[in-house]
């Protein structure tokens, strides 16, 4: 079992080396004529005003939170799917209850308008 992850490890090493090699090759093959104007931040030809790292809307944070909760739910569901053939009907009802509680959460979000993207 571990040796299979060995393949993943070697593949990940190769998957890092390929883009690094390509970028390094491009760096040396391409011309190098640095220019202060060229290296400026691109903003449709206008000089940048103010800081890039402006404050963002809280909506993004909310989406992240909802995603986290559903992610955890999914992780609990997958082992149940693997064990599904051996489960009794009542165990399946327990799993269904788990999902139903989270559907309630989704409808709560919906009612409160957290899913609107204004």
């Amino acid at each position: 079992m571990l040796s299979q992850w060995g393949f993943v490890l070697i593949l990940s090493a190769i998957a890092v080396i390929i883009p690094v090699a390509a970028i390094v090759l491009g760096h040396f093959l391409g011309p190098r004529r640095p220019d202060p104007v060229k290296n400026e931040t691109y903003e449709s030809g206008v000089e940048t005003i103010g800081d890039t790292w402006v404050q963002f809307r809280a909506q993004y944070y909310l989406i992240g939170l909802i995603f986290l909760i559903f992610d955890v739910e999914v992780i609990f569901l997958f082992p149940i799917a693997v064990a599904y053939q051996n489960l009794s009907f009542f165990s399946v009802i327990a799993a269904v209850t788990f999902v139903v509680i989270l559907i309630l959460g989704l409808f709560l979000e919906w009612r409160k308008g957290a899913l609107e993207w204004s």
Partner: protein, 177 residues
């Protein structure tokens, strides 16, 4: 072959070498979290540390937990942390100093925790490495079976907890009108 006066230390096995690489990654990531001057770099260091933790789980043949670690911590929590950094305007400007008045206290507490952990680890009778697991699928199936049988009450309580977290998320993150 001439006899050596002392026995050579055994060569590390392949999983041990991999473990050392992963541990180095995790330690470098953790140090970046503490020492980086830029808050976003700290978040990236945290991601590296999370990957290290996932790697340790996988080397310990707990692949389901390892993958869950990547899914939840790298996918969701570090994104959330990055969003949180970008939502708090004051933190984005310039370099924040990694030191403040509490750094001395923190160092002492960290050192003490380290000592306690090392003492604990030396005291615990660690189980010997058994046979490598051949049927990892059965372990995952067993986990799923346990969720809805022995541990069905905690399992449903967990669903309630997630529901409460969802409700709390709305209260916290909704734009105040």
């Amino acid at each position: 072959m001439p006899e050596l006066p002392f026995p050579l230390p055994p060569l590390p096995t392949a999983p041990q070498v991999v473990f050392i690489m992963i541990a180095v990654l995790a330690v470098i990531g953790s140090l970046t979290v503490v020492l980086a001057r830029n808050l976003f770099h700290s978040a990236l260091g945290l991601v590296a540390a999370f990957f290290g933790a996932a790697g340790v789980y996988i080397v310990a043949e707990a692949e389901f937990i390892g993958v869950s670690q990547v899914l939840v911590y790298v996918g969701a929590i570090s994104t959330l942390i990055t969003f949180a950094i970008m939502l708090t305007r004051g933190m984005m400007f310039g370099a924040t100093s990694p030191r403040n008045r509490q750094s001395g206290t923190a160092a002492i507490i960290t050192a003490l925790t380290f000592v306690v952990l090392v003492a604990l680890m030396r005291g615990i009778p660690w189980p010997q490495a058994g046979e490598p697991i051949t049927d990892g699928q059965a372990i995952i199936a067993g986990l799923g079976f346990a969720f809805v049988n022995q541990y069905v009450i905690p399992f449903l309580l967990l669903a309630m907890l997630l529901l409460v977290a969802l409700a709390g998320a709305i209260m916290l993150a909704r734009d105040r009108k």
